[in-house]
């Protein structure tokens, strides 16, 4: 292979980013940081899509990445609105404070 195309390395990097994001979701206590870790996991998945699209030579993976980005934007908007409502309700962003379903 004279022209390196980075598919293997990109797949491992995507796995690493997904793992770091998952660890952050478990370890962090701030709601906003947890949301950011979810974005990190989504980016790992996007990188895997692009790498597989490159390996297969088709563009379907790239279109999927486009849709993932749209959904991520919608998720961030709604998620942050929920965070604002929670902060107004309890005056904290600690995940452990939000342990009852009853308002």
């Amino acid at each position: 292979m004279d022209q390196p195309d980075f598919v293997h390395q990109a797949l491992l990097l995507s796995l690493l980013l997904f793992g770091i994001g998952a660890l952050g979701v478990f370890l962090r206590k701030n709601v906003i940081t947890v949301l950011m870790c979810i974005e990190l996991m989504l980016n790992g998945a996007n990188l895997a899509f692009v790498a597989f699209s490159r390996a297969a030579g088709t563009l379907d993976g790239q279109v999927l990445v486009f849709f993932v980005m749209v959904v991520a934007a919608a998720e961030a908007a709604v998620g942050l609105a929920i965070v604002i409502a929670l902060h107004r309700h309890k005056d904290t962003l600690d995940i452990d404070a939000f342990n009852v379903m009853k308002g």
């Binding site: 770091i20 870790c37 990190l40 790239q62 749209v70 934007a73 961030a76 709604v78 604002i84 962003l93």
Partner: protein, 163 residues
């Protein structure tokens, strides 16, 4: 040259991702996440996807992260103070083991996958638009606009003062 750029951006992405989860102050986490997203954009470019690379900077680093920073500064978030107690420590080590197990297994599968060498690959914006607006994806594309509108209305309704 390409190889050096790839490994440099990959290392930068992983390091700043570690800063994202290791940092107690969420503002620093947000800035580290922006670094991760921008270095991922470089990697998308090296994988031959200029359209996705541009979207990554414009949509993720530009729009989504500004939204995060806006909310962080609006709510005046302080950094986490309390160290985790013994119960939290146990949960954290369980999470660490589970994630390590997952990464190990998936890494084994991915390493032995051996994807075929890329054939001719044209992911220019022109080709992307042709596929995105082909009958195959057109309706999905239109549905996403409804999704964005619903998210917009939902966000406004959720964050309203007397909700």
């Amino acid at each position: 040259m390409d190889q050096a750029l790839f490994y440099a951006s990959a290392a930068l992405a992983v390091l700043s991702a570690l800063v994202v989860i290791g940092q107690r102050n969420p503002i620093y986490s947000a800035f580290a996440l922006i670094v991760t997203l921008c270095s991922l954009s470089v990697i998308f470019g090296l994988l031959g996807s200029p359209f996705i690379a541009a979207l990554q900077v414009i949509v993720y680093a530009g729009a989504i992260m500004v939204l995060f920073l806006f909310v962080l500064m609006l709510l005046n978030v302080k950094s986490e103070q309390d160290a985790p107690g013994p119960a939290g420590r146990t949960l954290a080590s369980i999470a660490l083991v589970l994630v390590a197990l997952f990464v190990g297994q998936a890494g084994y599968v991915l390493w032995h996958l051996a994807p075929g060498a890329a054939r001719s690959f044209d992911a220019s914006t022109h080709r992307m638009a042709e596929i995105l607006f082909s009958p195959h994806f057109l309706y999905v594309f239109e549905a996403t606009s409804v999704l964005i509108l619903a998210a917009l209305v939902g966000a406004v309704a959720l964050a309203k003062k007397d909700a």
